[in-house]
Symmetry: C2
Subunit: 336 residues, 2 copies
DNA sequence: TTGTATGCGTTATCAG
DNA sequence: CTGATAACGCATACAA
């Protein structure tokens, strides 16, 4: 592959001159500039980003680590991030962490080795301390979907507890008293906080959820189905079920429908996230909107701004988002 | 950030020795090796991937360009690709092309500048010639979801025509004679070929589709809804509608249901892709399985193998996939 | 306006 | 076993 040197000798000029036209340097004669550009086209010259990064001491790229790309939720997040990267002419380096401490750490390390100046990472498996350590080492390090006190200004996160609480409020307002829970078997903070939000609010209204009415399963459709299956076969009574996310809600709804239970007439179902399928399933899912794309955009912008050591523009010191309820068809007033 | 030189002087050895321990070089004393490793930990040393790529003349990374990450279809594709990259310790560089020639080209160019040794690209907007040009220049260049004769062995693609044909066959076998089409307004080859497959097969059975029964719209839920809306208000008669993809099918089905038309009793609906929502919507969508993740894996492996100039192992010279029908609930025998 | 020289962090080729 | 030293491709301060 042609290098800057090849171009230089082909054009009969020095390296420096070629370098100048590449970078739109100011002091180059129009004639030479044109000629050099011409030659570059002919020879199919491509600047070597690695060499440039080395000498420049900066790699205009944004590292991203998330759990599973196949999950529509993360895909949407990635889309948000990617859009700002593209707009700012940043290359995105992507790694999957798959919620395992070792993998997540390796992903971040690799990104660091590439010296990408900004990174937004989704990590559930790594400890606070480790993450704080990275944050200290990398100016443009931003955490998405996680809140750590010590680096609050580097976290873009959702108030899961508030989300749980507003679900409970909504259900309460509709007269529901018997509610079942279908949550994730992975006891990371998201499901824990959501559940606590629901329970606290319910308790405040004098309602408590029995242990048996809480099912844990994989946070996907299959999990939702299995959980509902269990609930049904245990003979638990409920007029509403709150699911950890839309996928589980959809799975639960499928199972309900398959068993001849009407939704929402007999049982109301509420999800979380408002991913695309919430609008596709029948009945359309009432859920909580998780503004994940917006948060991805925010996180990317924050990371970039932090990386370029901009003044404290973005340092509002808190980047909390609150989910809002989206009322569709799967929730109605309690029957009994 | 600490460099290899810093480590060397801190350890009182030469650069070469440090480099050796980094790369697990063979000839280093155990004592020195241990000591150097220790020092590297202490100083938080991270090899600089850019410098390494420069001198090594190889960047162990896989470039990926696709249309829209937010689309579950592409997310699944990306997931397949990413999984093989991770397994082979390759960093993935991701770019979105958004189906615009300029953007797609820029994405590829950027990837080239980074000298990634393999790339799998999804391009609909670029011309055959341009793509062939890239393929010639980049050994590890693989095209996904597109077939170009001249570089057949670099294409991992789906036989859309055959897919269309098998849809028609299925419908025919169920006695459908009046079928409407909802397709994409973007007239790239996928929709064109699928449609042709359907029409040819139908024609062979003596059935033709009237122009008015073919609706174009955006290839998403909204498009599907709008298209069905049009069909309905034009008073077109049909017992089956074949949609360009699952999203449009789901949209169409929504609209049908909203208008009190039973699916599949009165009208059958068939999709394409078998993305996740096909299993979530009610009735569950009968569709054609597009083995996109598998194809992503294949494309990535092919690209990597091509890049490392492996023998002609993978060069079966054709990487065609054929979609297969997945029978669920949205299609039944024709009513009338 | 253009050229020369130096160094960015590593690897690799030689010698010791 | 270990140490100099020359690239790698490019940007840039300093000369001319």
């Amino acid at each position: 592959m042609a290098t800057i040197k090849d171009i230089a000798s082909a054009a009969g000029v020095s390296l420096a001159t070629v370098s100048r036209v590449i970078n739109n340097g100011p002091k180059v004669g129009d004639a030479t500039r044109a000629r050099i550009k011409e030659i570059m086209k002919e020879m199919g010259y491509r600047p070597n980003a690695n060499a440039r990064a080395l000498v420049t001491q900066r790699n205009p790229s944004l590292g991203v680590v998330l759990a599973e790309l196949s999950d529509p939720f993360f895909a949407t997040l990635a889309h948000g991030i990617e859009s700002v990267a593209r707009q700012k002419d940043m290359q995105v380096l992507l790694s999957s962490g798959s919620i395992q401490a070792k993998t997540e750490m390796k992903a971040i390390d690799t990104l660091m080795e590439h010296r990408c100046e900004a990174m937004v990472v989704h990590s559930k498996a790594l400890s606070d301390d480790v993450l704080v350590g990275y944050a200290k080492e990398i100016p443009g390090f931003v955490l998405i979907n996680r809140y750590i006190e010590a680096i609050a200004d580097r976290c873009v996160w959702l108030d899961n507890y508030a989300g749980g609480a507003s679900i409970a409020k909504h259900l309460l307002s509709l007269g529901h008293k018997k509610v079942a829970i279908i949550t994730s078997q992975y006891q990371i903070d998201d499901p824990i906080l959501r559940l606590k939000g629901v329970e606290d609010e319910l308790n405040a209204a004098g309602i408590s959820i029995e242990k048996a009415a809480i099912e844990l399963a994989t946070p996907d459709q299959e999990g939702g189905e299995a959980a509902m299956q269990n609930l049904l076969s245990k003979g638990i009574e409920f007029t509403a079920v709150v699911a950890y996310n839309d996928a589980m809600a959809a799975g639960a709804m499928s199972m309900l429908l398959d068993h001849g239970v009407q939704v929402p007439t007999e049982v109301s179902v509420i999800g979380f996230d408002d991913v695309i399928l919430a609008r596709y399933c029948r009945p359309k899912l009432t859920t909580l909107k998780y503004p994940i794309e917006m948060m991805g955009v925010k996180a990317a912008e924050l990371a970039l701004s932090l990386a370029t050591k901009k003044p404290q523009a973005e340092h509002t010191s808190t980047h909390k988002y609150t989910p809002t309820i989206v009322k569709r068809e799967s929730v109605s007033v309690a029957l009994k």
